[in-house]
């Protein structure tokens, strides 16, 4: 500041006041970090609490994926979950009564689950879809990235892996206690799974997953921005059909019909040294799961068109060609997920996806029969 009479530069008291006010306003946010974090508690106890389930809650969470996967035709919404930020609003009254909204800047897509039936409201499409039945394998969806749900799934897959206590942190205004799962399988890409939960209620509040390429950098993390341990009311959990909106019904078994049209052979009983995991009675033609825990992968049939487009997209995204006995194949590796696509063969398109080392999927794709039953 220059004095009104042209004297030496000095700060006027008014500027000092404005600077102090600005600093106070700016400091109000980070000051929340000075509040107490959760206590260090035995990791085994915390894992047991996650596995025991969580109380009803209502919360707003944000999930971020940094997996750098290429766009897969017809699966853009799925890859978006793993490569960008997803805002989720969850209302969970129990395992069979919940609603999870995927919030976008200009709309939302809400999934309701009531008594075994799912309803999907899509504002953009102005349509409510009623989905009956279920399949043993399905694609990831926003509801899976809800912190309690993601924690339950990942901790459930790693029950026998070692755990350790990690420092607590403050999440959504709650002092959370944390524990780390370190998967022991040498073939998995997952280096660590960190979970922070409310020590009083046992509700997981934040989950971080890091890959072995850089264990210090989480590549998938989801965290509550705000959460309340109040059960959602019945009106909130009831899907609404506004006047003029469309209403359609779908059967989860339709997916099996679509896969059947691909005329894919049954999955091999063993791939890359891993046994086929039985999927129960409701099998999906050509689909197979191999391995266990977080060292597993899935085999999914794909039309030749889709497989070829994935291969072309993968080449642009830095994919590596894999030598196969028939057709052509490409592998894309992200810090957490490895994808191998095989194409160039009529009715022989396949996708292999898993949290396993690239070498495992490369071996698996080489072992795949060209077509027909193995």
């Amino acid at each position: 500041m220059v004095g009104a009479m042209g004297g030496p530069p000095r700060f006027s008291r008014r500027w000092v006041l404005v600077a102090a006010g600005s600093a106070a306003l700016l400091g109000a946010g980070p000051a929340g970090g000075l509040l107490p974090v959760g206590a260090d508690l035995p990791a085994e106890d915390l894992r047991a609490r996650v596995l025991a389930g969580h109380p009803p809650f209502t919360g707003l969470a944000r999930s971020t994926g940094r997996l750098g996967l290429p766009e897969i035709p017809q699966l853009q919404s799925t890859t978006a979950l793993l490569t960008g930020t997803t805002t989720i609003r969850s209302y969970r009254a129990g395992p069979d009564r919940w609603r999870v909204d995927e919030l976008t800047p200009a709309g939302e897509r809400d999934t309701y689950h009531r008594d075994g039936v799912e309803y999907v409201w899509d504002f953009g499409a102005n349509q409510l879809t009623t989905v009956s039945g279920s399949t043993p394998v399905r694609l990831p969806r926003p509801a899976d990235l809800d912190p309690p749900e993601l924690a339950r799934r990942l901790v459930g897959l790693t029950r026998s892996d070692p755990v350790s206590t990690i420092p607590g942190r403050r999440v959504a205004g709650i002092g959370a206690s944390g524990f780390r799962v370190t998967p022991g399988d040498p073939d998995t890409t997952v280096a660590r799974i960190d979970v922070w939960l409310d020590p009083d209620s046992g509700l997981p509040l934040r989950v971080e997953v890091a890959g072995r390429t850089d264990p210090g950098l989480p590549v998938l993390f989801t965290e509550f921005q705000e959460v309340s341990l109040t059960a959602p009311d019945d009106r909130t959990l009831t899907p609404a059909l506004p006047p003029g909106a469309g209403s359609v019904t779908a059967d989860a078994a339709d997916l099996a019909g679509a896969l059947r049209q691909l005329d894919a052979p049954d999955p091999p009983a063993r791939l890359a040294g891993r046994d086929l995991v039985p999927l129960g009675d409701a099998t999906l033609p050509g689909v197979g799961l191999y391995g266990s825990g977080v060292a597993g992968f899935a085999l999914v049939p794909a039309s030749r068109g889709i497989a070829d487009r994935v291969i072309e997209g993968a080449a642009i995204a830095g994919g590596v060609a894999v030598e196969v006995p028939v057709g052509r194949a490409v592998r894309v590796s992200s810090p957490l997920i490895t994808v191998v696509a095989r194409g160039g063969i009529r009715r022989g398109g396949r996708l292999l996806v898993g949290t396993v080392a690239p070498a495992v999927l490369e071996q698996a794709v080489r072992e795949l029969p060209a077509r027909g039953r193995p």
């Binding site: 006027s12 008014r14 404005v18 006010g21 976008t104 506004p242 006047p243």
Partner: protein, 276 residues
């Protein structure tokens, strides 16, 4: 003083031109949509645009989303950038301050004038687009059942007419505050220079810089404090239940900008040598 400033603002042709242009863009969009029935596919285009053809009552929300990113900030930058610098350029600032009027009082009157401008701008866009929307697309499906009903929320549940009025009112107030934050920055810039154009461009530079940083992951630490980060929070008012979290954050940040920018304008203007 405040009355004088408001009368001056209302007498300016450029202010009326700004309001007319702000209302003209949504009107043009409504005419084109009504004539062609070609709405953007779901998920693309402006917010709510894909839904307006089924219910004209949604059009005010679509219109606000249309003018918010560019047109509204430009007009706010013009009006606020001119507040003090315009007086200096016209040579009236010296005479204004000769009168027994405190500088703080003059700045307050200018800020109130900008606040009234932004409130009327948002209100005019809302009212005009409601009328245009209903004329072009009707009251929605309920019209055939005996009268105009509500509108569908983003979550599917139908909002009653009372809900719509209340939520739209909150939206108007929220957007007016967002634009007032920009206006306060413009007022501050207007005290730094004698050129209204420079002050206006300064405000637009803030908007462009903020918009460029908002989607950048590397800027995540400062994103909550950027002025444009919270501009679309009002859309959460049309969810069911309302998502207040982002609106609350937006109110705090935009309110903070008003306080800090007005404080800076006061700190600078109170000791400034006025020579023109």
């Amino acid at each position: 003083m405040i009355g004088v400033e408001l009368r001056l603002m209302l007498r300016r042709r450029r202010v009326w031109l700004c309001w007319i242009l702000l209302c003209a863009l949504p009107t043009l969009v409504a005419i084109l949509l009504a004539a062609t029935r070609l709405t953007p596919p779901p998920g693309s285009g402006g917010a709510f645009l894909s839904a307006v053809v089924t219910n004209g009552q949604i059009f005010p929300a679509a219109a606000l989303a249309l003018v918010l990113p560019v047109f509204l900030p430009i007009t706010v930058a013009i009006v606020s950038g001119e507040a003090i610098a315009g007086e200096a350029t016209a040579g009236t600032l010296r005479y204004l301050l000769v009168r027994p009027v405190g500088r703080l009082r003059l700045l307050t009157a200018k800020l109130i004038s900008v606040a009234v401008y932004v409130l009327l701008a948002v209100l005019l866009v809302t009212v005009v687009s409601y009328v245009v929307g209903v004329l072009a697309f009707g009251f929605g499906p309920d019209a055939s059942l005996g009268g105009g009903g509500g509108i569908p929320s983003l979550s599917g549940a139908t909002l009653t007419p009372v809900d719509v009025v209340v939520r739209t009112g909150v939206t108007v107030g929220y957007l007016a505050l967002c634009m007032l934050a920009l206006g306060a920055i413009g007022l501050f810039f207007s005290t730094l220079t004698d050129s209204p154009l420079a002050a206006t461009l300064g405000v637009l530079a803030v908007v462009v810089a903020s918009a460029a940083l908002t989607p950048l992951d590397a800027a995540s630490a400062i994103q909550p404090y950027l002025p444009t980060t919270h501009w679309l929070a009002w859309i959460d008012l049309y969810r069911d239940p309302i998502l207040w979290d982002s609106v609350h954050r937006g109110l705090l940040v935009e309110g903070g900008y008003v306080v800090v920018a007005f404080g800076a304008a006061w700190a600078n203007f109170a000791t400034k040598d006025v020579t023109s």
